[in-house]
């Protein structure tokens, strides 16, 4: 068995999964399954949110250890599903190591067109407005904030700015839109509109995953995820605060919270 190739393939699968937002234990599990096909005496896979280490150790040969730094993480279910399928097929012996390596390397990220993403960005705030106690006016206003953030996200992705700044800019846009809509239609519940508007940005899933990792005993990943969630929340809150403050400053006395 080629230990090096197996370790490389396992870490590639792990890297794709971790960057797509899979849970820590699932990434470790998948890599361990691939590593175990080497038939070596001892294999280990360790995942910390910002990096992966795998090692294969056999008395007859030198130990193979591969390490990978993970810098950016998002959520991409398509990749998780695909890696899951590929690794299951490989572990069942249906495909060869070279084949799955090729499949992993050629995996593409995006499934939908930009239009679909933009439509989805509008749909999420509009759909959440009723849950936060909004009526027809709030649904419409939330959809408008969704349009604003869709425009900002599309523009931001083209210029390639970092996610912290992009989140902040989107939140500024949402806050400014909400305040202006409130000035135009005073009966509007601005809090509902803002909360619905930031739903695609806030780290609700991230904090829940952080607690899940912590409960499972993955303390390093759990702690890192908690920090990540708070940094994202900070970017959104700073944006909203700055947005509201700047509009009321420009329009002194006219619009207040």
């Amino acid at each position: 068995m080629d230990y090096r190739l197996i370790a490389d393939t396992a870490i590639l699968a792990g890297e794709i999964m971790l960057r797509s937002g899979a849970e820590t234990y699932r990434v470790e599990d998948t890599m361990k399954h691939i590593l175990d096909t080497a038939g070596a005496e001892k294999t280990e896979a360790i995942v910390m949110l910002t990096g992966i280490i795998v090692t294969i150790n056999d008395p007859g040969a030198d130990a193979v250890t591969v390490m990978r730094r993970i810098r950016d993480r998002g959520t991409n279910m398509n990749r998780i599903v695909e890696v899951n399928e590929i690794s299951r097929k490989y572990c069942a012996g249906e495909v060869s190591l070279e084949e799955i390596r090729q499949k992993l390397e050629s995996m593409k990220g995006h499934r939908y067109s930009t239009w679909m993403y933009n439509l989805a960005t509008v749909l999420v705030p509009a759909g959440f407005a009723p849950l936060f106690g909004g009526g027809i006016a709030e649904i419409a206003a939330s959809a408008v904030t969704g349009v604003v953030s869709a425009v900002l996200i599309t523009a931001g992705k083209k210029t390639g700015i970092g996610s912290f700044i992009l989140n902040m800019l989107c939140s500024v846009g949402i806050a400014v839109t909400a305040v202006l809509l409130k000035a135009w239609h005073p009966a509007l519940n601005m809090d509902t509109v803002i909360i619905s508007g930031i739903m695609p940005l806030v780290p609700g899933v991230a904090i829940t995953n952080a607690i899940r990792d912590t409960l499972r005993g993955d303390y390093i990943s759990g702690g890192a995820r908690v920090l990540e969630a708070f940094v994202t929340a900070a970017s959104v809150a700073i944006g909203i605060g700055a947005g509201i403050a700047s509009v009321s400053m420009l329009w002194r006395g006219g619009v207040l919270l």
């Binding site: 937002g21 899979a22 849970e23 699932r26 959520t75 991409n76 279910m77 398509n78 990749r79 998780i80 599903v81 899951n84 990220g109 995006h110 499934r111 939908y112 679909m116 993403y117 439509l119 989805a120 960005t121 509008v122 749909l123 999420v124 705030p125 509009a126 759909g127 959440f128 407005a129 009723p130 849950l131 936060f132 649904i139 909360i195 930031i198 739903m199 695609p200 806030v202 780290p203 609700g204 899933v205 904090i207 829940t208 952080a210 607690i211 899940r212 912590t214 409960l215 969630a229 708070f230 994202t232 929340a233 900070a234 959104v236 809150a237 700073i238 909203i240 605060g241």
Partner: protein, 146 residues
């Protein structure tokens, strides 16, 4: 009426979120159904006068059950349905409020939302955990029986 509107809204919102996180097309409707079911339970519980945390716990249980059932029926990882489906109950607004009140220098509100958010995230994790364990038990018993 409120329950229906809330659930329908969450169905649409979860479908939108599923697209944002690149869920394959054949699983999107199921994720939406899991989210709508959870949101329905959540709003019902609130109307019955239960607390936010307990309502979240019950709705997370329902979502996790639905997600595990769908995962078994449609042969996909549980995460695909769980992450999108759980979105309505997850404390995203709470996370925002913590930092927002921190910026406004309002200590008591910050502490209140910090505790509430950790409680909500905790009970969701607990609910997911319980359902995970139940399904694993089920699999283990079947394996032993076979």
């Amino acid at each position: 009426m409120e329950v229906l509107l809330g659930a329908a809204g969450c169905f649409a919102a979860v479908i939108g979120y599923s697209i944002l996180v690149e869920t394959p097309g054949k699983y999107i409707l199921q994720a939406g159904a899991a989210g709508a079911g959870g949101a329905g339970v959540y709003i019902c519980c609130l109307q019955l006068g239960l607390g936010t945390v307990f309502a979240t716990f019950l709705s997370a249980l329902v979502i996790a059950l639905l997600a595990h059932t769908f995962a078994r029926i449609f042969k996909a990882p549980v995460t695909v349905f769980l992450i999108a489906g759980i979105l309505p109950t997850v404390p995203g607004a709470g996370m925002y409020r913590i930092v927002y009140y921190m910026i406004l220098n309002d200590r008591s509100q910050t502490a209140y939302y910090l505790l509430q958010t950790l409680e909500i995230a905790g009970v969701i994790a607990l609910a997911v955990f319980i359902v995970d364990a139940l399904f694993r038990l089920h699999v283990n018993i079947r394996k032993k029986g076979a």
